[in-house]
């Protein structure tokens, strides 16, 4: 029957849209990780733990104290910035290397996970709001409002960070330090001050991601680990330290996952990110 192709097509369109929007959330999570890995040479697994902590704080402030998510979000982002600065102080104080940073922040993530579990138990948590599940209807597509806002925020942050790294003296100085710290120093760049700022920003980005995770996803302490694989793939595909790449990588993975779920089988989705990563590493496009 001729008509039977239509619902199939719109199903694919809906999957594509879901993939793009999910990809925005992946990109948002990947942003801080990519920047600290690429520009500070620190692999911060604690980034995921902080995002989840930010999500729990947003949910907790909202459900227990009736704090609106945007106010909770502002508070989380503000506090996280200073946590990021403090974290970098610790890294500098103990001269932590790239490899060591991964192990230390892994331990940190485990501690955050058990702390969350102790305070809020291992139960699933869902932040119910009146507007949380609203959608715009465009033609035959349902466009969820919250996911769209998350995508727009991810895009704005990625673009702003990209412009900052490219067009400001501070941003260019950070890129110079990532390539050759001693020579950057010889040209008057004080890496310490700039790296504190960047580390603070990365943590603040984890906070932003956390707010949207609270509103969009179901929370459980072990969620920390479910993102690591996907977001690592996103960071590497996007290119370390490349904010627009992180978003593009997120969208690529998000779309591939959603398409796999729609066309093949939902249970294959977890394989997608690594298959894409491996394929890209084998063919090595120039940007990686």
């Amino acid at each position: 029957m001729g008509g039977s192709a239509m619902p199939h097509l719109s199903l694919l369109e809906q999957a594509l849209l879901t993939g793009v929007l999910t990809g925005g959330l992946y990109g948002l999570l990947a942003l801080g990780l990519s920047l600290s890995w690429g520009l500070l040479r620190l692999v911060n697994l604690g980034h995921f733990a902080m995002a989840l902590l930010g999500a729990y704080l947003t949910w907790w402030l909202g459900t227990s104290y009736n704090v609106a998510p945007w106010w909770a979000g502002l508070l989380v982002v503000f506090v996280f910035f200073f946590y990021g600065v403090g974290l970098h102080w610790v890294f500098m104080r103990f001269r932590v290397t790239e490899m060591a940073s991964m192990l230390i922040t892994f331990a940190f993530a485990v501690i955050v996970e058990s702390t969350i579990q102790t305070i809020w138990t291992a139960d699933f948590r869902r932040y119910e709001t009146a507007w949380g599940s609203q959608s715009w209807v465009v033609g035959s597509l349902y466009v969820p409002k919250l996911n769209t806002i998350a995508f727009v925020v991810a895009g704005a942050l990625a673009a702003a960070t990209w412009a900052w790294l490219r067009y400001t003296y501070a941003g260019r100085a950070l890129r110079a330090c990532a390539e050759d710290p001693p020579i950057a120093t010889a040209f008057g760049i004080n890496h310490r001050g700039l790296s504190f700022l960047l580390s603070g920003l990365c943590a603040a980005f984890a906070g932003v991601a956390g707010v949207f995770i609270a509103l969009i996803a179901t929370l459980a302490p072990s969620e920390i680990w479910s993102w690591i694989g996907v977001v690592f793939a996103v960071v590497i595909i996007g290119g370390l330290g490349n904010p627009l790449g992180a978003l593009a990588g997120g969208v690529l993975i998000g779309v591939c996952e959603a398409m796999t779920m729609a066309i093949v089988n939902p249970s294959w989705a977890p394989l997608v990110s690594f298959s894409v990563l491996i394929a890209l590493l084998l063919f090595r496009p120039r940007w990686i």
Binding site: Y169, A173, E179
Partner: protein
């Protein structure tokens, strides 16, 4: 004297790589330091640039002691480095590299004039200013390294083997550029293995061997010494 280095000793943990080195650079002078591989030339120049710290002895620029100045403030005192092997920021465009040169706030104010000046010296860089520095030819990369250093508006330019790895036809151009920069009033400390050209261009020269200054003076006097002629010119 603009630069007065006195009894500098510095190294890498174990035995010192330079030992009791004293050199002077006057305003507007070109001073060459020659010496064989591993003599300590880069160690000396990096110590002056603040890249390698932990030296003993004194290092004064225009009367200011630099040993206690933090590394990232050395360039504020008027020292700019063209490092061995150029060490450009290869993932950044030519113009971004030059803008790192005018990062310090005093130089930032004169960004536009400085860019005009270095593009005047190296017109090819203006054409290539959007290109990634890592994709340029060796000679062009050396131009970027020199231009980046000039962007800091230094009083003393440190050049560590600027002719290293360049095609012989370009080496001559490089020395002409150095001469031009000096004629605009800048003092230059040049480290080279290209002995003849380095001697020809220099007002005075030092010979560094195994971390010590073994001879110094006017280039023609040094080249007249049979020991130096034998060791460096193979005559």
């Amino acid at each position: 004297m603009l630069l007065e280095a006195r009894n500098l000793t510095n190294g890498y943990g174990g035995a010192p790589a330079i030992w009791d080195v004293s050199i002077d650079v006057g305003e507007g002078e070109i001073i060459s330091v020659i010496g064989p591989n591993g003599a300590g030339k880069s160690t000396l120049i990096n110590t002056i640039a603040g890249l390698l710290r932990g030296q003993t002895g004194s290092l004064r620029l225009g009367g200011t002691e630099l040993s206690t100045v933090p590394s990232h403030q050395i360039c504020n005192h008027g020292i700019a480095l063209v490092p061995e092997g150029r060490r450009l920021f290869t993932g950044m465009s030519v113009e971004e590299n030059l803008e790192i040169g005018c990062y310090r706030s005093a130089a930032r104010r004169n960004r536009d004039q400085s860019l005009e000046r270095v593009y005047g010296l190296f017109p090819v860089l203006r054409e290539r200013r959007q290109q990634l520095a890592g994709t340029l030819s060796g000679g062009q990369q050396q131009m970027v390294a020199i231009a980046r250093a000039l962007m800091t508006q230094p009083r003393l330019l440190l050049l560590d083997e600027p002719s290293l790895g360049l095609a012989p036809s370009i080496v001559g151009d490089m020395f002409r550029i150095i001469r031009t920069i000096q004629s605009e009033g800048m003092a230059i400390l040049l480290v080279e293995q290209n002995v003849l050209q380095a001697m020809e261009i220099a007002d005075r020269a030092y010979v560094l061997e195994e971390g010590r200054i073994v001879a110094s003076g006017l280039p023609r006097e040094l080249l007249a010494q049979s020991r130096i002629k034998e060791a460096y010119l193979g005559l």
